[in-house]
Symmetry: C2
Subunit: 455 residues, 2 copies
C-alpha cells in the first residue's frame, strides 16, 4: 500500500504525519512517497521520515521524487500539502493589494479574512490540484485524495466538479482544536467528558452541540460571557490561532446564534477587520493571526519551525525523535487512512461533498465540513443539529459566493470576473482601482502563468 | 364579485385599473371597493372611478372606505397599492442616509439600487401588508392578493411565509415594458412578431429567449452592441425608466451572459452607482431614475400626475375619459382578474412562489418573476430557458441575501441585524457609522413605530 504526498517539503504537517505513521502499527509495511518541486525541502522531509522510522525501528519504506506522476502512480492515498505560491510571494501579493487600498490584500473578504488562504488569487493552488486530479484519473483512479493545503473549500469543490469520480476529502484541524480551546481554556471543562458537534464550511464552522457529562451545556458559554468574558478579554493576550477565545467570536455568537469555532472566528464581516485598530479591539494586542502583526509573527514562527526541521533532518548528531517526541500529533490524517484501510471506525471532522444533503439548505455541489464516521470505504456523516436560518443568509451564502466568484473566474479564465468580484469589495472606492489592482497582481514577475490564464 | 384596493389613493396604477375595468366587459357588474387612510386621495380615486364608469356607461359599483376590514371583507381580489412611507418621508430617509455617508440612502445596495423601493427600511410596507394578510385570513380567506406596491419581492415572500395558505401573486410591468423597449427602440423590431421570455426575481430579471418571426434572434443584440451602441449612447438621453437602453445594461449583459430587462438595469453592483458621475457615465445625463436628478424628476412627474388626477376627478367641467382616453393601459392586473374569474387563458409575467422549482437553482421559499399561463384558479408557469450558472452567484443570490437580511431583521425585531446588514455595505467606513445611521433613521419623527419595533 502506497501513500503519496504532494508538496511534501511543506513544513506544517510533515512532522505530524511522520510521527503518526510511526505510531500507527496497523499501517507499518506501507510505502511513503514524498514529492516536491523544491529538491532541498524534499530532501529535508525525506531525511526526517527516514531517520524517524529508523530510530523508531518502523518498517515504512520512504521514497522521494520531483515527478508528480511517480508520486501518484498506484498510490492508495494522495495527500496534497502543496502551497504553490509560498509565503514570500504571497506576502508580495498582499503588499501589492495594500498599495492599491486593499488592506491585507485582495483575498481578504467577507467570511474569508483568513488571508494567506488565497481565493481570488488561488490560481497556482488550483493548477497544482487540477494536475494531481488529472494524474490520479490516469494512474490511481481508485485512490483517495486528502486535500490539506488551503483553500480547502475551493480546491475540494473545484476538483469534485471537474473530476466527479475521484474520491476526495478535505482535512482541517480547526474544528476539534477550536472546540478544545473553548471548552478547556474558557469553560474549564474536562475535554474527555465533552460531547460536541461542529459543522458548516471549512473555516466557517459553528458549534451545533455542546454536552458535558451527558448534559446539554451550551448555557455554560452564555454564563461565561455574562460573568467572566470582559475581565478575560481585558488581560488575556490570545496567541495566533486562538481566535476562538476572542471578543469577535463572542460577537458572532450573539449575532448569529451559534458559537464560531477555530478559524471561523478569524473571519466574519469587515466589522472585525477594517484596520489594525479594529482588529486589536476584537482580537487583542496582536490583532489576530491575520493582521500585519500576526503575519510578521507567522513568518517568525515559520522560520523557527524551519530551523527545527532542518536540525532534525540534516544534523546527524541530532535524534529526530528528540526534536519530535513520539507522541500522537492530534491530527487525524493518518487516522483517516487507517480507518479506510483497516476498517477501524473513527469519528473525524472532514470536508465532504454535500451530495447527500448533509446540510440540506446548502447547495449539493460544494464541500461541507462535518463530523464523519469513517470505516473502510464507507463515509457516514453524522446527522446534524439544526442551525438558525439566519446563518445561511449572513454567513454561509456569502462565503459560498466568494467560492463561486473564484472558481467561475478560474474556470472561464476571465479577468473581468476577477474585477467584478472586487467591485463588490467595500475597500474598492473606484472601478479603476479594482481594475488596477488586478493588473498589478497579474503583472508580478512570478505571476506570468496567472496573467496568461486570465484574459 | 368584489375587488378591493388597499392604498387606492395611490397615483401610479389607479387610472390604469379603472380604464382597464371599463374596457373589460366580462367584469362588468362587479363591485370595486377603494380603501385608503388618506380621505382626500381616497375621494379622488373614488370620484375618478365613478365618473369614468358613468361616462363609459359601465355597471361597476364603486365603494370607498378608510376601514381596511370593510375593503377586504368577502372580496375575491385584493390589490395592494399602499406605499405607506410616502415620497416625502422616503425622501427624508434617503437624505438622512446621505448625511451619514450613504449615497442615495441605506436601501441602495447591491442588486437593489432601485432606492425608493425600501428594503432595510420597509417597516411600514411590511406592517400594512401583514395587516392585509391577517384580515384576509379572517374575512376573505379564498381571495387572491395581488401585491403591486414595492418591494414586491420582499412583501410577497414575507406574506407567503407567514400566511402560506393565502393565494398571493406579485405584479410588475417591468418585464414586458423593458422587452418592448429593447426590441422596438434598439432593435427596431415589430413587437407583434417578437417571441420572448424573461425570468428571475422582481427587478432582477433577464431576457432568456428572443425570437423574431420564429427565428432565434439574440444575436441581434450583439450586432447592435457592436455596430450601433456607442453612437446611440453618445447622443440619446434615456428618459426615466428607460435604463434597459443604457450602457449599464449592456455591461451587465457582457458580464453575466443575459440581457437585463426593465428595472434590472437600474440595479447591479456599485460599479454603476458610486456617485452621480458614475451613474451619468452608465445611464446618461440624468444618471438614471435613481440618481438625485432622477429623484427630483420623479417628484416633478408625481406632481404633474397628481394635478392630472385632481383635474380629472374634482373638476366637474372635465370629462375624465378625455384626460384618460379609453384605451387599454398595457398593464395586466385586470387581465389577471379576468383570466381567473372567466377562465380566459392569458400569459402574464407574474411573481409566484418558487415552490414548484420554477427556477430550480433558487430557494423554494421565495417569489420568482416568470411568465405564467393564467386560466381560472390554475397558474401554470412557463418552462424556462436555462440561465448561465454565473448569474446565481453574482446576481440572484446577492439579491436574495438582501431580502433575507430585511425579513430576518423585521421578523425578529432586531436592530443589531439591521446594523449587521449595513456593516456589509461598501459605503460603511466605520462600525459606528452603521450604528449611527440606523439610530438616525429610527429617530425620525414619522418612524416612531419602527423605533419601537427594532430593539
Amino acid at each position: 500500500m502506497k501513500v503519496g504526498i504532494v508538496g511534501a517539503g511543506s513544513m506544517t504537517f510533515i512532522a505530524s504525519i511522520v510521527r503518526d505513521l510511526a505510531l500507527t502499527k496497523s499501517l507499518h509495511g506501507i510505502t511513503l512517497n514524498l514529492m516536491d518541486v523544491n529538491p532541498q525541502r524534499l530532501e529535508r522531509s525525506y531525511l526526517l521520515a527516514k531517520k524517524y522510522f529508523s530510530e523508531m525501528n518502523v518498517s515504512i519504506k520512504v521514497e522521494k521524487t520531483t515527478d508528480m506522476r511517480e508520486c501518484i502512480k498506484d498510490a492508495s492515498f494522495i495527500l496534497n500539502l502543496a502551497f504553490a505560491i509560498g509565503y514570500t510571494n504571497l506576502g508580495i501579493m498582499i503588499e501589492t493589494g495594500e498599495k492599491h487600498g486593499y488592506y491585507r490584500g485582495i483575498d481578504a473578504t467577507v467570511w474569508n479574512m483568513v488571508n494567506p488562504y488565497v481565493t481570488l488569487t488561488a490560481y497556482k493552488q488550483y493548477v497544482v490540484a487540477s494536475n494531481i486530479a488529472e494524474i490520479m484519473e490516469d494512474l490511481a483512479p481508485d485512490a483517495w485524495l486528502i486535500q490539506i493545503s488551503n483553500p480547502v473549500l475551493e480546491i475540494s469543490t473545484l476538483l469534485h466538479r471537474l473530476h466527479p469520480k475521484l474520491k476526495i476529502v478535505g482535512y482541517c484541524h480547526g474544528a476539534e482544536g477550536g472546540t478544545k480551546l473553548l471548552t478547556t481554556k474558557l469553560l474549564r471543562l474536562n475535554f474527555n467528558e465533552v460531547e460536541w458537534q461542529a459543522a458548516g464550511l471549512n473555516h466557517v464552522i459553528f458549534l451545533t452541540k455542546l454536552k458535558y457529562k451527558g448534559e446539554e451545556s451550551y448555557h455554560l458559554i452564555d454564563e461565561w460571557l455574562e460573568k467572566k468574558a470582559e475581565r478575560f478579554w481585558r488581560t488575556y493576550v490570545p496567541a495566533p490561532w486562538q481566535e476562538t477565545l476572542s471578543r469577535a467570536a463572542a460577537d458572532m455568537y450573539r449575532l448569529y446564534g451559534l458559537y464560531p469555532i477555530g478559524d471561523t472566528a478569524r473571519s466574519g464581516t469587515w466589522k472585525y477587520h477594517r484596520n489594525l485598530e479594529t482588529k486589536q479591539y476584537w482580537y487583542g494586542p496582536l490583532g489576530g493571526v491575520d493582521s500585519e502583526i500576526g503575519w510578521a509573527l507567522r513568518l517568525l514562527l515559520n522560520q523557527q519551525n524551519e530551523e527545527r526541521l532542518n536540525k532534525a533532518a540534516f544534523d546527524s548528531n541530532v535524534k529526530v525523535t528528540e526534536v519530535f517526541p513520539p507522541k500522537r500529533s492530534g491530527e487525524h490524517i493518518i487516522d483517516f487512512i487507517d480507518s479506510v484501510v483497516n476498517g477501524t471506525e473513527r469519528r473525524i471532522v472532514l470536508n465532504i461533498p454535500n451530495e447527500f444533503n448533509v446540510i440540506s439548505m446548502l447547495p449539493t455541489d460544494i464541500f461541507v465540513e462535518v463530523p464523519v464516521y469513517v470505516s473502510g470505504e464507507n463515509l457516514r456523516p453524522e446527522p446534524l443539529e439544526s442551525m438558525p436560518k439566519i446563518m445561511y443568509s449572513r454567513v454561509f451564502y456569502p462565503r459560498i459566493e466568494v467560492l463561486e466568484w473564484s472558481l467561475e473566474a478560474f474556470i472561464a479564465g476571465r479577468k473581468d470576473l476577477l474585477v467584478d468580484a472586487l467591485i463588490r469589495d467595500p475597500r474598492t472606492k473606484t472601478n479603476k482601482q479594482a481594475e488596477e489592482v488586478v493588473d498589478a497582481i497579474l503583472s508580478l514577475p512570478f505571476n506570468q502563468d496567472m496573467k496568461q490564464h486570465y484574459k
